[in-house]
């Protein structure tokens, strides 16, 4: 009996112990502690400054770049930065979850402009103005003017929620050797693109005329150049849907026909950034539109084809446009705008801000560029060392005036899957382009209405 009582007491003790909250493993951040950072005497560095900054970025060249650049920050300041790589396919899902649950996983993350508005609406991002206005935190040289109009994508109601980083676009990459052999010049119009793809298409010898991407979650990012370049739009200026107008149907028909006519690899419905990069770098396609960020891989003899003299076989030009009556080419291309943001629930916000401010400063952005990235800082973009090493930035400057990005609306994350689905349906042949676009337009309109953007 006594043993039973003892056993019962032991069980109760274990249950109570299990219910006790775990001891905090890191000092919680609270306003008092942040104030202490200002007032602390020099010989007592604040506890928060000692904590490493955890930064999330997706897999790919941006991750590789950040690891190198973060190491430079650590060398310069003695402060540790932990770079967390998240799989590309799951990146936005992960950030959505962290925003919704006030996650403390990261102190900063690489944020795309399409998602920032909804994160702001969900109160998931830290308002950076609180740091801009704090002389103990912000660097005296810091100015938002260094980012040009890119800041506008991340500023809402006068508050800036992210610091601009890569303003990306894509080039038309082409096999210089194949074009030369066939007596062709890089296409400037879509008719020339189609003709070149047809002429250079040689599947029997493992080379396709072109490569496109149609992966379920990435279709838009590969298709948008074809849409914009052929005069199409996703939305009108008043946010009504434009993608299913005449130009939109023509563009999607052109895109779908590339697969239908065997001018691209048959399995492009599984192709995204990685697969397009692989196809181009192995020389299996004569042409393909791929992000500028891929340049460090596509122009490297370690990762792509080069000739006997060590010159890359791939060249790049601005994607085709529409020939006008006066002979000029009207161009409109796509792209994306990235930034660095701080989650509202991060427990290391001050150090996170200091890191992203440095990362996007002329110094950090220059390092970013010299390691293969695209700096969002105008001073870094025009730095002589950067321009000398990466001549394609001159082309980027040329393209910026007619580059469009995905709409930055709070409903953008809901619009994107619908757009992807329609493009995939048309290219895979389960629907005609007109059917796919009309269905897409109806769904987009519903979402825009729910978001209050159209009546």
């Amino acid at each position: 009996m006594k043993f039973k009582i003892f056993a019962l007491l032991a069980v109760l003790t274990f249950v109570l112990a299990a219910c006790t909250p775990a001891a905090a493993t890191e000092a919680p951040v609270n306003p008092a502690e942040e104030v202490a950072t200002e007032a602390a005497p020099a010989e007592q560095p604040p506890a928060e400054a000692a904590k490493p900054v955890v930064v999330a970025v997706w897999s790919g060249p941006e991750h590789d770049n950040l690891v190198k650049v973060a190491a430079e920050y650590t060398k310069a300041t003695g402060k540790e930065v932990i770079v967390e790589e998240v799989a590309r396919e799951a990146y936005f899902d992960k950030l959505n979850t962290i925003t919704a649950t006030c996650g403390k996983d990261y102190d900063a993350f690489y944020a795309m402009s399409d998602f920032v508005p909804v994160y702001v609406a969900a109160e998931g991002l830290k308002d950076l103005n609180t740091f801009f206005e704090d002389p103990a935190v912000a660097s005296p040289e810091f100015t938002l003017d260094d980012f040009g109009m890119a800041t506008s994508f991340f500023t809402f109601d006068g508050k800036t929620y992210a610091l601009p980083s890569e303003g990306d676009t894509a080039w038309l990459w082409y096999r210089k050797d194949l074009f030369e052999k066939a007596g062709l010049t890089p296409p400037e119009t879509w008719d020339e693109f189609y003709a070149a793809a047809k002429k250079l298409n040689d599947p029997a010898n493992g080379i396709y005329g072109a490569v496109i991407g149609n992966k379920p979650d990435e279709a838009w990012w590969d298709y948008m150049y074809y849409l914009f370049g052929q005069g199409g739009e996703l939305l009108n200026p008043d946010n009504t849907v434009a993608i299913n107008n005449e130009a939109g149907v023509k563009a999607l028909t052109f895109y779908a026909n590339l697969l239908k006519e065997g001018l691209v690899p048959p399995d492009v419905t599984t192709f995204g950034y990685v697969e397009i990069l692989e196809t181009l770098s192995k020389g299996k396609a004569a042409m393909g539109i791929q992000w500028m960020a891929a340049a460090q891989d596509l122009l490297s003899c370690d990762k792509s084809l080069c000739d006997a003299d060590g010159n890359p076989l791939l060249g790049y030009v601005i994607p085709p446009g529409i020939k006008q009556d006066d002979g000029t080419i009207k161009r409109h291309t796509g792209g994306s705008q990235w930034s660095w943001a701080i989650p509202a629930c991060s427990e290391n916000q001050v150090e996170a801000y200091k890191f992203i401010e440095w990362l996007t400063s002329p110094v950090g952005a220059k390092l970013w560029a010299l390691n293969g990235g695209i700096p969002g800082n105008i001073k870094a973009l025009s730095d002589p060392a950067v321009v000398a090493k990466i001549p394609q930035f001159a082309l980027l400057a040329e393209v910026m005036p007619y580059r469009s990005i995905f709409p930055t609306l709070t409903v953008s994350p809901e619009l994107l899957p619908v757009v992807n689905e329609g493009i995939v349906a048309a290219v895979s042949g389960t629907k005609t382009p007109q059917e796919a676009l009309d269905e897409m337009a109806a769904k987009l309109t519903e979402i825009l209405k729910a978001g209050g953007y159209v009546k």
Partner: protein, 301 residues
């Protein structure tokens, strides 16, 4: 005084004896409540409210049955339901037929029977993520081993995962590869408990192998087949990881099962109200099926 003390002690002992088992199982019970009932209850609550990433900070209004109504009028959800049921019926059919064949074979006195039994367990030992990634590589159109060996046989490469007409068969193939061995093991266990006398009597009466199988083996194995059917239905109906890794529900949604649909709504569009509703519809379908099978098993007994 002594009498009062005895009465108190006796009451205390009665109390301890009555509630003693409850104390011992209480930790496990509390954990079960927290990890099972709480999320279920919260999901049910979510399914009757409007929760989106865009609006939840402004409030989570009660939406009555709007989420459920929206699902049943959404062709994408109905498509996902149709695809899930197609996948379930086809995958289970193949697994039962192949599993039965394998079980009958392994029940024979063949050479290296033990080794063969161990060998067929290999697919079961792999985690679903490994299986999904492995088969994605094997079935790759350009670099996959399957197309490579088909090419060596003079057969044109097949768009296993990129063709809307073939992708569904590919995911069924992978699921069948993964779980047929376990179905076979369960049926083999059943076969080995069958009595010998009816078979001897049938043999003496001149019954053929087919007649023996149809009139003896199948009826005897019915309870086990029903259990296998129940387990496989629940497993295939809620399948997510393997299909997501193979095709992400594509191309053009032809392999988008309900689980993948829920994931898209829940974690990409972040409309948790609708995602929760879809999850409950899934659960209800599985509950109904489980109830039917349980009734059939009870009837057998």
């Amino acid at each position: 005084m002594a009498l009062t003390h005895s009465k108190k002690t006796w009451t205390f002992h009665r109390f301890i004896r009555k509630f003693e088992p409850a104390f011992y199982i209480s930790p496990a019970f509390i954990v079960l409540i927290i990890i099972l009932l709480f999320p279920l209850g919260y999901a049910l609550w979510l399914s009757f409210h409007t929760w989106t990433l865009r609006t939840f900070k402004q409030g989570i209004p009660f939406s009555d049955i709007q989420n459920y109504a929206q699902l049943f009028s959404n062709p994408d959800f109905l498509n996902a339901l149709r695809i899930t049921l197609t996948f379930v019926v086809l995958a289970i059919s193949f697994e039962l037929i192949l599993g039965m064949g394998l079980a009958l074979l392994l029940n024979q006195d063949i050479k290296a029977r033990s080794f063969t039994r161990a060998l067929i367990l290999i697919p079961m030992m792999c985690t679903n993520v490994v299986i999904g990634l492995m088969w994605r590589l094997l079935l790759n159109y350009q670099y996959g081993l399957v197309n490579y060996y088909l090419g060596r046989l003079g057969i044109l490469p097949v768009e296993w995962l990129s063709s809307p007409h073939v992708a569904m068969w590919s995911v069924i193939l992978v699921d069948v590869w993964n779980t047929t061995s376990f179905v076979a093991l369960m049926l083999l266990a059943g076969l080995q408990t069958l009595p010998d006398e009816p078979y001897e009597a049938a043999k003496m009466d001149g019954a053929s192998a087919f007649q023996t199988f149809t009139y003896l083996t199948l009826p005897f194995l019915r309870p086990i087949i029903l259990v296998v059917l129940l387990w496989r239905f629940i497993d295939t109906f809620r399948i997510f990881d393997v299909i997501y890794l193979l095709t992400a529900g594509g191309p053009a949604r032809v392999t988008e099962t309900i689980s993948i649909y829920v994931y898209r709504y829940g974690f990409q569009s972040f409309n948790l109200g609708v995602a929760a509703s879809a999850s409950f519809i899934m659960m209800l379908i599985m509950l109904v099926f489980a109830a039917v099978i349980a009734w059939a098993i009870g009837k057998e007994e």
